[in-house]
Every structure is written in C-alpha cells, then in structure tokens.
C-alpha cells in the first residue's frame, strides 16, 4: 500500500447526436468519485464510454496498469473483459431470472470469489426475503438494491453507478442512500457515481468531476472543488462546503445532533446518526449569512468563526461568492454585493458564518 496504485485515466471524445463529449480526467484508485453536472452535460455518455459500450469513441482509457482502450494503438478491450459493475438508472434486472438468479449471474461468471461476502451483502441490503421472487413483483427501491448487489457480486475492479437513485421515490431514495453510505465505509473498489443531485454527491463522494456541455470544467477532491469561486454559472447551485466530522453530542429532547469538525461545532436535525459516527453535512453557499460579530438573539443555531480568503463575482450581478476558512475547513458564502460593501468586508477579515440547523438537514 506504499505506492499509490494508478486509478482510472480517461481521455476520450465521442459524438452522440447533439453531444460532443471531450473529456480528460484522472480518478483515484479508491473511494467514490462523483460525476456531476446539469442534464445533457454528457455524464451518462461519459460513463458508457468508460464501460466500453460506445465502440466509436476515440481516445484512451486505462485503469491501473490495464489498458482498456487506446484508439491510436487499435486496442479495445470488450466490456465483458473489463471487470466492471454497472448500475443503471432503471434497474434493468433480467426478467427471465428470479432475484437469486440475477444476483448470481455475475457471481458465477466471476468464479464465485471467496473474498466476496455474498450472504453478508444480501443481509445488509435486505434482500433475504426477496430471493425467490420474480423480478416483476419488486418495487423500484427493491429492484435497485438487487441491481447494486448484483453488480457488487460480479467482483468488479471498478463500479459505475449511473444516477441509481434518480428514479426512486423519496422514501426509497433515503433508504438506499443509507445503504450506500454504509457501503462506502467498507468498499475497497473505486466507484464512479453519476448524479445531478448535489446532496447525494455531498454525502457519498470523495472526489468530484464537474462536467458541462461535454467538457470537464473542474476535477479534484470534493471539498476544495465545491468551494471554488471560479466555476461556471450552470454549477452555481451546487456550490457550498461539505463538512465531514464526527457526531459528538446527541440531544434527545430537541432531536438534534452535534457535529465536530476542525473549524468548530455544528448542530443539525437528528436523523439516524449515532454517537461517534462519521457524519457529512453540506453547507450550501446560499444558506450562509456573514456577521461582523456573533449574535446571541438569533434563531440560527450555528455560528462559526472564520477568515475571509477571497471574493469573486457570482452568476447574478447582485451577488458575490465569498470563500472562507474555518480552522482549515473551507466554507463558501453567497451574499449580495451590497452587503459586501455595507459591511466593508475584505480578504483577511475575521467574520462569523451563520447557518440555520434546518438548512443543514438535507
């Protein structure tokens, strides 16, 4: 584990109708990388190309030391020889097999590898009662769970999840997001997670690639990329800090949980967090209010002391983005220019960032 294994290196171009995809990205060998962008940005096309479904793509894809595609050297490894696990937005289970049959499809072809805990995964995703059922009798959430475990059981070297939660209702989505979060902790296999939902990305991703109109606009680790002030307007709504910390306090009476992170403490509504659990929380830039002095008589529960690092124009002429540093953690605030001038703010100033607990309960 001393030298970092090279991850996925993708340099591809593809034409699909109106989309001209032209990407150049490098993804780490571990963790979840989110592929984020607005509709039509080419996220799915990008994923499909990496999977090997688009034979007329041009460029190269290497994963670790394996060359999956290299148009210049006329190399193209077909999909079934790339060890992938693919989950689509619509579950697409094999209609002629039972749930167990679906799960075992890739498992058998991978040689029933012993290091995969088939029973454990089935338990963890709650599939035990569904095993003998036919596919048509499952709900959307159930189908997606089967789909994920099926992909995991095929012993993949890389997981590709294409908006797996988008087609689900809110309850199923929350349920599965929880499954994925718990999976994240133990997952050895890297995953590319495509989504247009920033909250999913905030909770799951370690690394992020931002796509717009077929091009990579930014890539890097989650925190720093989402607090950049120089991103195109289309991604404006996604901007904000993702705070990762530990749940250090639970208030059963008020149903709140206290999150400790390098820059201070945050109170959020309590969902299912337990003491000591690692928690992620997204602080949207538009939810941050800046104060010269901390306030006592306010309904907002959170006030964090931080220093202004930089300011840049936001997409709307009335607004600006302020990048803050709170004890090493980056925060982003979107405020009006009027306020910036009114408070006479400038880089280097010490200010207080105020956030409602309610706004943190994504």
């Amino acid at each position: 584990m001393t030298e970092a294994t090279p991850g996925l290196a993708v340099k591809l171009s593809l034409r699909r109708g109106a989309l001209a995809l032209d990407v150049d990205m490098a993804l780490p060998a571990r963790g979840i990388t989110a592929l984020f962008g607005p509709s039509g940005a080419g996220k799915t096309a990008c994923l499909r190309t990496i999977a090997g479904f688009e034979r007329d793509s041009v460029g190269s894809v290497t994963f670790g030391h394996a060359i999956w595609q290299d148009t210049a050297r006329r190399i193209f490894v077909p999909t079934h020889r790339r060890r992938l696990g693919h989950v689509f937005q619509e579950a697409s289970l094999f209609a002629h097999l039972s749930v167990a049959g679906n799960l075992d499809y890739g498992y058998r072809r991978a040689g029933r590898p012993e290091h995969l805990d088939r029973e454990g995964l089935i338990e963890r995703f709650g599939l035990r009662p569904l095993l003998e059922r036919r596919v048509g009798a499952l709900s959307g959430g159930e189908r997606q769970r089967v789909s994920m475990v099926r992909a995991l059981l095929s012993d993949p070297a890389l997981l590709l999840f294409d908006e797996p939660l988008s087609a689900l209702d809110a309850a199923a989505r929350t349920d599965l997001l929880g499954c994925l979060e718990s999976l994240h902790g133990t997952l050895e296999t890297p995953m590319i997670y495509v989504s247009h939902n920033i909250d999913e990305v905030a909770r799951l991703a370690d690394h992020i690639v931002l796509l717009e109109a077929g091009h990579v606009v930014a890539q890097g680790d989650l925190q720093s990329t989402l607090t950049r002030v120089d991103l195109p307007p289309a991604l404006g709504e996604a901007l904000g800090a993702v705070i990762e910390g530990e749940a250090v306090g639970l208030d059963a009476h008020d149903q709140l949980v206290e999150l400790a992170f390098p820059g201070g403490r945050l109170w959020l509504p309590h969902r299912q967090e337990t003491l000591g659990q690692k928690v992620r929380c997204r602080v949207a830039a538009r939810d941050v209010v800046l104060l010269r002095q901390p306030e006592a008589a306010t309904s907002a529960l959170n006030q964090i002391r931080c220093r202004i690092v930089a300011m840049a124009d936001a997409d709307h002429a009335s607004q600006c983005l302020v990048r803050l540093d709170a004890g090493g953690s980056a925060l982003l605030a979107r405020i009006t220019r009027r306020s910036w001038h009114h408070l006479s703010l400038s880089p280097g100033d010490e200010v207080w960032a105020q956030v409602k607990a309610v706004a943190l309960g994504a």
Partner: protein
C-alpha cells in the same frame, strides 16, 4: 378410413414441416440476430430479400426453382459437377424449397423478438462478464423465447399448408414429395370428394394439435422491467 397412401402422405407432411421448421430456426436465429445488431448498409437489402417470399406467388417460386435446379440451370449444373444428386422431385429438394418459402415467417418474428429484447439487458450481461455467445444463450434467447415459439408455429403451419411450391417442384412422388395437400388435390381432381374431405379434416386436426402443443411452450409475457 385412411388408406396406406393417405397415412404415408400425412407422415411425410409432418416430417417435412418439422425438418423445415427446425432448420429454419437454426438458420434464422443468426440471421435475425445480425439484422437486429448490425450497422452494415446491407441490412435493409437483406431484410427486403428475406421478406420477398411473402409477395412471391408460391407457384412462381416453385417454377423458378425448378428451372434453376434443372440440368440447364446454374445451381443444377453446380450440383451435378459436385457429384451430388439433383434436387427437384426429392424430399431434400422440397425441404430447401420450403425453407425459402417459409423463411420470412420464421425470420421476421425472431427479428422482432430480438429487437424487443433491446440493448440494455445485453449491455448489463456484458458488464457482468458474459461474452457474446454467453449473452446470446443466457439472456437474449430466453428473453426472446416467446418470439421463437411464434416463429416455430408460423414456420410449421406455413409448411404444412404449402401447395404451390410442391406442385411445381415435387413431382408428386409417394413417400418423397406426395404431401397431404397434394393428396387432397389429387382426390379432388379425381372426383373423390369423400376422401378429400376426410383428409382435409385430418390435416386440420393434426395441424391444430401441433400448434396447440407449441403454444403451450410459450410462456406469457415476462413482466416488463
């Protein structure tokens, strides 16, 4: 009620239909698969060719085959040069002619069935490690199975009812090419209406039974994803 000749004709008809259906399924699957998945510019011309027997009058087809396979015809000459016996007036020849005649009835349902399977299940199967042949047998074929049964049913029924082609190229030889439809025709021509009726009824019953048996193999539609 049935003379030995009638029974012989019945058995011959069933044999012919079974052999033709089986061969057409074996040949039709790869052809239908190709038509579904190829991006070659030959796809449309080939599809049109496959559909041709639908519009060609059977007697025309039979007549041209007779000319083509005769000693003066291009194919007939090749066959003779290869030392093989000629095709007209043989069971083999009838099988080949029937395959041409029933081709669209088998290939088109197969083609439609493979199209209905779509790309997604196959992409998934390949992401789960299944190679091309594996994907075909473990995903495409099972999902297309209702279409396969339809193709078999249509191919069988169509061959059983064949007359025009047999008339032109069969030579009405007992045990070889004297199928039931010819036998009924002969009875009619000779004014033996009673036998003609009996045989026709028999043909109807046997065909119906065969078709019913085949439809029992056809599952109801799989629940769509």
């Amino acid at each position: 009620m049935f003379s030995a000749q009638d029974l012989q004709a019945l058995w011959l008809t069933l044999r012919l239909a079974s052999v033709v259906t089986l061969l057409l399924l074996l040949l039709g699957c790869p052809l239908a698969w190709w038509l579904t998945h190829t991006s070659s510019r030959w796809r449309r011309p080939v599809a049109a060719l496959v559909a041709l027997p639908l519009v060609l009058p059977p007697t025309v087809l039979g007549f041209y085959l007779l000319m083509l396979w005769g000693p003066e015809g291009a194919v007939g000459r090749l066959i003779a040069a290869a030392g093989l016996s000629a095709l007209p007036f043989t069971f083999r020849g009838l099988v080949v002619a029937s395959m041409l005649y029933s081709l669209p009835f088998v290939v088109q349902p197969l083609h439609n069935a493979f199209e209905a399977v779509g790309e997604r299940p196959l992409e998934l199967a390949s992401s789960l490690g299944a190679g091309p042949w594996d994907r075909f047998f473990t995903v495409a074929l099972p999902l297309a199975w209702p279409g396969v049964i339809t193709a078999a049913v249509l191919g069988f029924a169509h061959t059983v009812g064949e007359f025009g082609v047999v008339l032109m190229i069969g030579g009405n030889i007992p045990g070889q090419t004297r199928v039931l439809s010819m036998r009924i025709y002969d009875h009619v021509q000779a004014g033996e209406y009673h036998q003609a009726n009996v045989l026709s009824l028999c043909l109807l019953v046997v065909s119906f039974a065969a078709l019913l048996a085949m439809t029992l193999l056809r599952p109801r539609r799989y629940a769509r994803d």
